[in-house]
């Protein structure tokens, strides 16, 4: 028997939950401290990469990593309760043991984005894999141009990372816009779809990059809106998802035509998406 040291792509590292925090109804933020040597593997993971998290006994599922290694060794995942694995994770508390396999997949080319304005559009739980993009820009603020954050959810209570909005707003050369489908009594921001907000804010495509994550239908219409604003498909990036089972190109579950989301993605430019044989929609 070989050791569980990462040579077997299907064997997870063990990790201890050090943070379990309610972010919204049915959405929790989990902080994981890796136990058995996984730290070296996760020393330099990049924005956009994902990992499988195991709730042992229920199974494992892939999640975009919501943290950045520049901010410490604790890996963070924002998890919405939807299926058996996420339900089991939601039952767990600080001190409990989970498994982590990764980091997997490609990442946002943050180096290539340097010097450019960034428009980051996150819909619901789709904002989670975009948080490391925001953190990277904010932690290396001088390397990037203007940052426009468009953050959307169905309801104000479903907006994620709310306790960070002040630090985003107060960062230099950074603006945050919020919108919800159904406002509540105290809501002071926009109401409507993320694409309506995007039309209103109307960021300039000049030397700019658009980054979107959300439900497939939102990605589809956000792309149309970005195009109408003058963004080319090469300037527009998305991160796609699939219910994959291995993350290492074997299980077949995440194919989009001849491409695999786990190996060729999850980050794609819309130019690449346009060349895919099969639609993500």
């Amino acid at each position: 028997m070989t050791s569980l040291n990462g040579s077997n792509g299907m064997a997870p590292y063990l990790g201890k939950l050090v943070v379990v925090k309610d972010m919204a109804p049915e959405i929790k933020l989990f902080g994981v401290e890796l136990l058995n040597g996984g730290n070296a593997r996760f020393a330099d993971y990049k924005p956009g990469q994902f990992a499988f998290v195991s709730a042992f006994g229920a199974g494992e599922a892939p999640f975009g990593i919501a943290s950045s290694p520049q901010r410490g060794e604790v890996l963070e995942f924002a998890v919405q309760r939807l299926g058996s694995v996420t339900t089991e994770l939601h039952e767990m508390g600080e001190g409990d043991t989970v498994g982590v396999r990764g980091p997997l997949g490609n990442h946002f080319p943050m180096d290539a984005f340097k010097g450019k304005d960034l428009v980051v559009l996150g819909g619901g739980i789709g904002g989670a894999p975009l948080r490391p993009v925001l953190q990277t820009v904010l932690d290396n603020r001088a390397d990037y141009g203007h940052l426009t954050i468009l953050w959307a959810a169905r309801h104000p209570s479903l907006l994620i990372f709310r306790d960070e909005y002040e630090s985003w707003r107060s960062a230099p050369d950074t603006e945050l816009h919020l919108t919800v489908d159904e406002p509540d009594a105290g809501w002071e921001h926009d109401v409507g779809l993320s694409t309506t907000l995007l039309e209103k804010v109307a960021p300039s495509p000049k030397d700019a990059i658009a980054i979107t994550c959300g439900p497939p239908v939102m990605i589809y219409y956000a792309d149309k809106t970005f195009q109408a604003l003058g963004f080319t498909p090469e300037q527009s990036y998305v991160t796609l998802e699939a219910r994959m089972h291995c993350g290492i190109g074997k299980c077949g579950r995440c194919n989009l035509g001849d491409k695999l989301i786990c190996m060729d993605g999850p980050v794609f430019s819309m130019a690449e998406v346009g060349n895919l044989m099969e639609s993500f929609l």
Binding site: G9, M10, L14, Q80, T97, K250, R253
Partner: protein, 332 residues
């Protein structure tokens, strides 16, 4: 050619069965399957092909990946890597071709699949040439042949009085050490071939992605997934945890992977319920494109060996050679 008598072959196989796991076509309650045999007497020699391919000897229908022991907050994991050597006898050349196709994904494309690679390294393949092609066989149309020795370690072909024996690889030669062979003039008889099916060029596929053909063909598809189950190269899998009996008061689980198929309804459904391949036509198209276009693009080998099992087993007579004929016709 070098020949061994039937009795000589049987004695050799009996001694192999003492040392390693011997797998061969065996009658299991009226169903012919590659299964471990205790002695050569259990082996069936006269058959077209077993109902399932030898895929399951390397990539079992359900395979344990880990054992998980949970005691409150403490978790211990045990990797369950396959152990022990096996010799598979009576492998049809189409099935050996299928293993080769799986090799390109599981071993030759990084990262190496630990479980598959371990079984593969511990296995020796003894092929058996087909005397004739079965009714639905079309291996010769996809680059194979009923007596193709390329993908096995030892090749057998039935001749008068016994079997012609050919060592194909060093592993095969090592296995044959100690088997008394007689030099006999002549060659094994050539197999009787079926009329070939046209094989569309790889490039012929993408322009026909949006053809109405797929939807029309899928109208009768039941999404039952038997085509993938019997296929020697279909390799999609699902991973899940299942409970095991508790031990010393600790909860125990196994993490398993099991065969999956892209024609299944929920295969591409994502979190939140969206399914980009909700229509049967999209799913059936994916199956055929994977065989002849996606898999070759991804790992460099075609994923159809012409064994014909999917044709035999489809309850609504969906026929992969019909697809090949169609593609060849529309791309002419």
């Amino acid at each position: 050619m070098k020949v061994v008598s039937r009795d000589g072959l049987a004695a050799w196989l009996d001694s192999l069965a003492q040392q390693k796991t011997l797998v061969a076509p065996r009658d299991v309650d009226g169903v012919l399957l590659y299964r471990p045999v205790a002695s050569s007497a259990e082996i069936v020699w006269d058959y077209t092909r077993p109902v399932l391919s030898i895929k399951e000897a390397f990539f079992p229908a359900t395979e344990r990946l880990l054992v998980i022991e949970k005691n409150q907050q403490r978790v211990e994991l045990q990797e369950t890597l396959p152990e022990g050597e096996q010799v598979i006898v009576g492998v049809r050349p189409c099935d050996a071709r299928g293993v080769k196709a799986l090799d390109t994904l599981f071993i030759e494309t990084e990262p190496v699949d630990t479980y598959y690679a371990r079984r593969r390294a511990n296995t020796t393949l003894v092929g058996l040439a087909c005397k004739e092609m079965g009714e639905t066989c079309f291996c010769t149309s996809v680059g194979g042949a009923p007596d193709d020795p390329r993908d096995v370690d030892v090749m057998l072909a039935e001749v008068e009085g016994g079997y012609a024996v050919q060592a194909v690889t060093e592993k095969g030669e090592a296995l044959l050490a100690g088997l008394a062979l007689q030099d006999v003039p002549g060659e094994p008889p050539k197999p009787v071939l079926n009329e070939p099916v046209p094989l569309p060029e790889t490039e012929a596929w993408p322009p026909h992605f949006d053809d109405q053909f797929w939807e029309d063909m899928a109208e009768r598809c039941l999404s039952c997934r038997i085509c993938a189950y019997v296929c020697p190269t279909c390799r999609c899998f699902d991973v899940r945890d299942e409970a095991l009996p508790a031990h010393n008061g600790h909860n125990r689980y196994e993490r398993i992977r099991c065969w999956d198929s892209c024609t299944g309804e929920v295969y591409r459904r994502i979190a939140g319920g969206h399914n980009p391949r909700a229509d049967k036509g999209q799913r059936l198209r994916n199956r055929f494109f994977c065989k002849f276009y996606y898999y070759p693009q991804q790992v460099g080998s075609a994923a159809c060996t012409g064994c014909g099992r999917c044709i035999d087993s489809c309850p609504v007579n969906i026929d992969i050679t019909e697809v090949m004929h169609h593609l060849a016709e529309v791309s002419r």
